[in-house]
Subunit: 280 residues, 2 copies
């Protein structure tokens, strides 16, 4: 492992979810801001309402285990169609109008992201309290070897702007549904030897809030020491904890900085006035 971070060019990896994808005005504004970012960049997108609507149209019943959706083979078809097809190609077509040389990708393309099908797990059923074997279906988990850095760098350095759906494959012809946050952080970590990598999670808030009721109470910077204090003060708890643990894991694996904020404000990233900055 080498570290040339000071000489390396910058790379921003931005993750957006359904709240942006399902809102045409927000989406257009976001894509303009994305295109305006300096340096290399990658977009990672989740799904939107269309996948749920299509599953209903097809008469599929959602199977839930412990509040998590099971990806059976028909659900995998739906998310492959909607995420890797409809959403991905529309995002690319919109970016191309701005002369942003977007290329839509799944993890299968160029073998860019190889995942492992999540093994059957022995979990406590939150309703019955009993332990049971749970098969989450066609869900892909990532590890440190998942990203094909060589092929991805070839695309980036030849002027393509990758736009990833969170559909991956296992290298044995099976497509897998993967968490889009996880895809974004795996890409950021894997590319941090080649670039000074920033990982930007866009969500529905302006950042990590000091007071959940006050949208203006964004905490501008969190480092490991202030994170401990904020937890001790019970300012950061519940839903925000896994996001921040993921962010610090990325930082500890070579990512230069992580931002958590609103897609509506991405244009502020240039001035580093964007959301919450997580750093070492």
């Amino acid at each position: 492992m080498h570290n040339l971070s000071h000489q390396n060019p910058t790379l921003s990896i931005i993750k957006i979810g359904g709240n942006v994808i399902d809102n045409p005005e927000k989406l257009t504004a976001f894509l303009i801001a994305f295109n305006g970012l300096p340096g290399y960049k990658i977009l990672v997108h989740g799904g939107g309402k269309m996948a749920t609507k299509l599953a209903q149209d097809m008469g599929l019943q959602a199977t839930m285990v412990n509040g998590r959706r099971v990806t059976d083979s028909q659900t995998l078809q739906v998310v492959t169609m909607v995420y890797a097809g409809l959403i991905n190609k529309n995002l690319v077509a919109q970016l191309q109008t701005q002369h942003c040389n977007a290329i839509g990708l799944s993890g299968a393309d160029g073998n860019l992201i190889k995942a492992t099908k999540r093994p059957i797990q022995n979990l406590k059923n939150t309703e019955t309290g009993e332990n049971e074997e749970v098969d989450f279906g066609y869900v892909g988990d990532l590890d440190a070897q998942s990203v094909n850095t060589k092929n991805l760098v070839l695309l980036i350095e030849n002027g393509f702007i990758p736009v990833f759906s969170a559909i991956t494959h296992n290298g044995e012809s099976q497509l897998l549904n993967t968490n889009a946050d996880t895809v974004a952080s795996a890409l950021a970590v894997a590319l941090s030897n080649n670039y000074q990598t920033s990982l930007i999670y866009c969500f529905e808030k302006k950042g990590v809030l000091r007071d959940i009721e006050d949208e203006q109470s964004v905490i501008t910077e969190i480092n490991p020491s202030t994170f401990e204090t904020l937890q001790a003060q019970n300012i950061i708890h519940s839903g925000m904890l896994p996001k921040l643990h993921n962010a610090f894991e990325a930082i500890n694996s070579g990512v230069k900085q992580v931002f958590i904020g609103s897609a509506d404000e991405l244009h502020l990233l240039k001035t580093e006035n964007f959301g919450t900055r997580i750093t070492t």
Copy 2:
């Protein structure tokens, strides 16, 4: 325009349709043969039964004009999901199992194929005999400037094997449904300055047949002179004529050779014992 065809490397562009895509055994055998082809290669695929099934599930009514389906906005969603998503990503995942470095693409990706929405046409209605204005909807037509040769050559020469669905875009964020045969020939023509290009149309027969009832009566080679004779003898007529006119148009625009044959026999291409060869 330069022509360096004798020094140039070879490129094979293969088009497959639903009869291969909908048959898992045929498809696997075809993909092995495709991967075994020497030189650079590109796969172009049409659709299959899934698009029709999905449209039915979504409750869409097919609008037909003069026997041709109109691509309304919902139909465009369906073909984008099925062709650019489900079929494209499954083909790529299968090719990757053979260490064939496939990358799935639409015309929007890398702005690789820019089309023009077909203008409203004044056509005779074959049922009523009256002329009427016909809008085929979100259908894309191609011209000599449609293919972004620069970006496509970058992908090819960096070791990627393009797998194209026939979804294109107009450069103004509109995706368009394009004929897959037309996409294949436009790619072959556009790349014929860079490579010695072969265009291979796979269909349900073993080639152009001397006797439509006899699957063994394949005409092994047709050139402009024998084409005239075969037409005069009424051996080639009706449905086969547009295919052959397209083939000769490709030949006359720089493509080295065109083959028409069965996907099941693609492994014979190496020995040039495959289907019908159309040449100058």
